[in-house]
């Protein structure tokens, strides 16, 4: 009887976890193994990592070794630039919009639904739309700049190394803002309305209420938005693949794309495993952070 009770969970766990073990756990472990595998000698070494990190092919550069005055700088730097711009913009804009929608704007449900569209569509199509937004004569951004008379920004942004990465990052704000607005709006639901009313009675302004009452209570939600956006930025692939493919001249390559280039263009599976491991090492601290939070 006690044995039967012990075995009971197995009925529920064995079939699903078999699938997970074969198609997720095994390949993850094997990727680490392959990343050290030297295809010439059959021994384990750090050569794959060394070659991957020292590559001079612009489409495969991970780490910048010399800063020239123009991009490309290397995939890792592009990911970091992405994080440095995307995370603060999405967080602050999301906070402000969610706040305005909650307390001051009519029809907020519709606006939230519209902003959320970017999360629902395939990221690959998102990449094509970003390309479309920044295309000379057709895209809304160059049209706007040509209307204002800024010639340098009225051309196709994704064709020039100076503007390509910026175009993708701004486009990804357009795609991802719905995430932060939705998370913040849901978190604001949990703030008792009486707190706000009380502050109003005491004559607090809209912005005072925001900084003194709403923002402090949103700390857990802010952490989630920051970390999830970070993870999204570091793992980004589809958008870049569909819009620029890493070009022009490697100015928009990102880590995941370098991995794919080794895999599909160079057909060098062991080096591509090494890049996959590097990518994972970059994201793992943030994954651990989220796991701690969810279990705690």
């Amino acid at each position: 009887m006690r044995l039967a009770r012990r075995l009971r969970p197995l009925v529920f766990l064995v079939p699903p976890f078999t699938l997970i073990a074969v198609f997720v756990i095994y390949p993850i472990l094997a990727t680490f193994y392959y990343s050290f595998y030297d295809k010439n000698t059959g021994l384990l070494s750090l050569d794959n990592y060394k070659e991957v990190l020292l590559s001079s092919n612009p489409l495969n550069i991970i780490i910048a070794r010399s800063f020239s005055h123009t991009p490309p700088w290397g995939a890792l730097v592009h990911n970091l630039v992405w994080v440095a711009l995307h995370v603060p913009i999405v967080t602050f804009l999301g906070l402000i919009i969610a706040y305005l929608l909650k307390y001051h704007v009519r029809g907020s449900t519709i606006i939230k639904a519209v902003l959320f569209l970017g999360i629902v569509i395939p990221p690959a199509v998102g990449g094509l739309i970003i390309r479309f937004m920044f295309e000379a004569d057709i895209g809304i951004v160059p049209i706007l700049f040509s209307y204002v008379g800024v010639e340098s920004l009225s051309k196709t942004w994704t064709l020039y190394p100076q503007t390509a990465l910026l175009a993708l990052i701004l486009g990804s704000v357009w795609l991802w803002l719905g995430f932060s607005v939705t998370v913040f709006a849901a978190a604001m639901e949990t703030i008792p309305r009486s707190h706000i009313e009380a502050a109003k009675v005491f004559g607090a302004s809209t912005w005072q209420i925001f900084y003194k009452i709403v923002a402090p209570q949103l700390k857990p939600a802010i952490t989630v938005v920051v970390v999830m956006t970070l993870l999204w930025d570091l793992k980004i692939f589809d958008i870049v693949y569909a819009s620029t493919g890493g070009g022009p001249g490697g100015s928009t390559t990102v880590l995941a794309l370098v991995m794919y280039n080794y895999f599909a263009r160079a057909l060098d599976y062991y080096k591509s495993a090494a890049v996959a491991v590097i990518l994972t090492l970059v994201v793992i601290p943030f994954i651990v952070l989220i796991i701690r939070r969810e279990r705690g």
């Binding site: 766990l13 976890f17 519209v114 629902v120 569509i121 849901a186 693949y241 994201v283």
Partner: protein, 285 residues
């Protein structure tokens, strides 16, 4: 004095509403442009642009027909393949994850904490970390460039987050319900089948819809594991609409709309599920 104070407040509110609504409309502009370009001959867009009221006489569905039917682009096949892959890759993990989620919510067993952490880890680890060994394995097993291969991978991957999602839902079903059934001598399978499953139908639908959308939207796994033209899914096909040097935006906008139509329709119908799924991240559990 008092009156002017109120009207000033009303004016502020009005201005604020205006600003936010203009912002939301500006956010929609790329979509509006997409639709406008897709329903006109591209030559006309090149000459006149799309920021205008289009001539009704020149409206056409040719871009859509071309993208779907022309054997060079063949989005129709991609669409069919996406339906097959996404449907089965959602059905399998939802059924499997219902089992694991029940175990996590209602049973105590060894390694529970470790297995749960594993599930969370899989949810967030980069897809890139799994493909190389699977590609080599699939080539040997004859699973490369087959629907079975990619469906199995998507299913295993999906089990992780669907388990997480369903377990959070099942925790709100009172455990006393399960205890009572146990006292009455019902087996765990009976409890699962007769009590828990019927109660969790909304969550099952929600996770099916979200997994379906996730698989539909996937590009990376498809690029790695599906190669031949008659196997490729819609995200692969639509990316190929973009030529190396010349871009026919009529074709590309029509293709984009076709390939995002399915997730958009699901989103419109099941709006609540999508928003709640994401919103849950922000609320402390």
């Amino acid at each position: 004095m008092k009156k002017s104070f109120i009207s000033r407040r009303a004016f502020k509110t009005l201005a604020l509403n205006l600003v936010v609504w203009v912002f939301a409309l500006a956010w929609m502009l790329p979509f509006i442009g997409l639709v406008a370009v897709s329903i006109q001959p591209y030559r006309e867009v090149v000459v006149k642009g799309w920021v205008r009221v289009p001539d009704l006489s020149s409206l056409t569905l040719n871009n859509y027909i071309e993208a779907l039917r022309n054997p060079l682009y063949d989005l129709a096949t991609g669409y069919r393949n996406s339906v097959i892959v996404a449907f089965l890759s959602s059905l399998i993990p939802v059924v499997a994850a219902a089992l694991t989620a029940y175990a996590f919510a209602n049973l105590d067993f060894r390694l529970k904490a470790l297995l749960f952490a594993t599930i969370l880890f899989i949810m967030m680890v980069p897809q890139q970390l799994t493909v190389v060994p699977l590609f080599l394995l699939y080539r040997n097993l004859g699973l490369y460039d087959t629907f079975q291969g990619i469906i199995l991978l998507h299913s295993a991957w999906g089990i992780a987050w669907v388990t997480f999602f369903l377990r959070n839902y099942l925790r709100f079903i009172p455990r006393s319900l399960v205890e009572a059934a146990r006292v009455d001598g019902a087996s765990e399978i009976t409890i699962f089948y007769k009590i828990i499953l019927p109660l969790s139908i909304p969550a099952l639908i929600a996770s099916f819809i979200m997994q379906f959308t996730w698989v539909w939207n996937d590009l990376f796994y498809a690029l790695v594991f599906l190669a031949s033209r008659d196997k490729q899914v819609i995200t692969q096909k639509v990316v190929m609409l973009k030529g190396e040097f010349h871009i026919d935006w009529g074709l590309l906008t029509a293709g984009s709309i076709i390939s995002m139509s399915t997730p958009l329709i699901l989103y419109v119908v099941f709006n609540k599920y999508f928003m709640r799924g994401v919103a849950a991240w922000g609320v402390k559990r």
